[in-house]
Amino acid sequence: MNIPIINEIPGRILAPVLLAVVAILGVFYNHEQKMDGLERLVLASEQDTLRDYLTLQKRPLNDLHNQARFDEQQLQFSISSTRALTRYSFILDQDFNLVMSLSEFEPGRSFDSTLLDNDALLMSTVSHLLLNASSEIEVERASNTLTLIGYLALEYGHLIVVRDLSPQMAYYRTQVLRMTFKDGVTFLLAAMLLAIAMYVVWFRRSKAVLQTLTQIGRGNLSARCHISGRNEMSEIAQAINRMADHLSLALDREKHLVGLINRSPIVVFEWKNLPGWPVNFVSESVNSWGYSVEDFIQGKIHFFDLIHPDDQARILAEVTHYLANGPDDYRQEYRILCANQEELWVDDRTWLVRDELGHVAIIYGVVVDVTELKRSELQIRELNDVLEQRVEERTNALEAANQELEAFTYSVSHDLKAPLRGIDGYSQLLMEAYRNQLDEEGETFLRNIRDGVGQMHQLIEDLLSYSRIERKTLQAQAFDVSLFVKELVEHSLKTDPHPQAKITIDLPSCQLELDPDGFALVIRNILTNALKFSINRQPPIVEIRGRVTDTRFVLEVKDNGVGFDMKYHDRIFQIFQRLHRREDFPGTGVGLALVKKAMQRMGGEVRAESELGKGALFILEFDL
């Protein structure tokens, strides 16, 4: 509700005034109600009284007429008995001639309005009653007046009694007014008491609340409102106290945060979007750059002047781009100059606040000194460069070494075999051409020379294979391991037949992705090995079997050969390591080393299990 006058009046005045007005209006209304009722009550009661009176008068008045002697005295008395209530009283005969009257009128006179002091209203009511009375006794109110008219039909005529109720009414009115006055006083007193009570319970408290709020508003966050009890105002006071608690807590926190920022290497800025980026706010931590907050706030320094001249153009271009196109959240790295001209690298994280039209109004920035980081970065980069250079040097050296090794291998392959060929060739030529000049021992010597050449040749070939598998670039291809092993075994037996040997292959069909040459080398050598060491068994048995686990393919080659002592299970895979004499089992001691190397290169594993004299089991595992 917005009624200016009410808004202007303080509640402590308005409330009692309103109360008083309500009290007065209440009393007035009550009075009116009573008055209204009073008239109706008095009229009803007087009508009854008049009716009773007329009933009582009927008999004496009839009797009075029957008496031979008209006793004036008697009549006088009879009428006068009603005097107090009667204004007019007439007895008329059947022809409406006055028989008797309360006033001094001579009998026999006909009834007219002069008898009623020319009161026309009264006259018309009386005439109506006289002419139209339907019953013996009738009482009627002269319209809208405090006058009652009673009618009694007599044996010899009519009785008209006119009663004026005004004096009575006036009396009653006085009585009612007195009562109303009493009521009014009582109500006003009550209103006054209520106003006092309200002042005590409401206005005094609200004043206290107002005072507290005023203090809080002025920044005194320690101000508190003390109102006891559980009333509304005390609840409001408590709410205010809680609010003040929160406010002071938040303020403390803010102070704490600002303190933290000021002590941190972070500098917080709020820039205006104006040329040179003048500063609205800057944290005290800017002191660490040798500048004071006032320098910026008073406009002595603009932020743009701080940026290293070499970076200014870039930063300006970037910021202009961001202001025009966004994103509103970006990050920049550049150099700034401290007050002492020292150069610092900073990491500036900025966000833009735009107005409704999309124009950037404020620019916030958190600027962190990352000089150390930059320096480390630079160092790391330098170190990296050095490292890369070293790696390159080493790689080159390694490549050179590799080339040397290749050249060496090439020489071995070529040059070492040439003299062997000479030795073998001339031994044979000697044997053929000079046989008759040689005795048996001489022939044995020549045979031994040729055996030696054969071994030497094998050794060279094995060594070359070993170095080849080490140098070779592996090229993985998918193949079915079961089919491939079968082919390899068949081929191997074709070139080196073992007719007595029982060879079984039981492999699940499985795709492996390996270098086929490496895999073939492994299988050939393992098979050759198994056949070689079981040659003396009847029959030699070699079982090749396989299984697939979660991640690997496991291939096992089991023979029934001489086996080996498990304490040598590692040694058998070392190059040139032999567990048997050459005359028992020929070989160079390179075969299993080749297997191990090839398995390593293919990412697989090989191991052997055995017991002396009970055959050997070679387990090859390949990743699926």
């Binding site: 070529h414 060929r421 060739g425 044979q428 040749h457």
Partner: protein, 144 residues
């Protein structure tokens, strides 16, 4: 009467005196009739091109070692196989090297055959026989 192809020489390019001697002996053992001309290094081998241009008879086959002084066998091979006229002369590499790289390179340069010299002399004689049979006899059946 001596058949025409038997007049045609075989060019043997070999630097190692032992291998050279053994090869010659192996051919002799198999009663090889063609004259054998010998070049002892790559340069000498390439010098034959000029001699052929000058009218000397081109060889039936060239037996070429890989590891040679001055110009190595693969370079000689390359030169020969790029020559507009003499690229048709069959070239057989006869070497100790069993390196896959060497074989691949040689074949990619257009060699006609690649033979690894066996260490065993008996096998060497077999090789000599096969060379003679294939490159000298079978390749010229009409003249036999």
């Amino acid at each position: 009467m001596t058949q025409a192809y038997l007049q045609q020489p075989i060019l043997l390019v070999e630097d190692n005196p032992v291998d050279l001697d053994l090869t010659l002996r192996a051919f002799k053992r198999k009663h090889f009739l063609n004259p054998i001309e010998v070049a002892r290094d790559g340069e000498e081998a390439l010098a034959y091109i000029e001699r052929w241009d000058a009218g000397e008879r081109t060889p039936l086959v060239i037996l070429l070692d890989l590891k040679l002084p001055k110009v190595n066998g693969l370079e000689v091979l390359k030169e020969l196989k790029q020559h507009p006229v003499y690229k048709t002369i069959p070239v057989v590499i006869l070497t100790s090297s069993s390196e896959g790289v060497d074989m691949k390179t040689a074949y990619s340069l257009g060699v006609n055959s690649y033979i690894v010299k066996p260490v065993d002399f008996a096998k060497f004689i077999d090789v000599a026989e096969q060379i003679e049979l294939y490159w000298c006899a079978l390749n010229h059946p009409e003249t036999r």
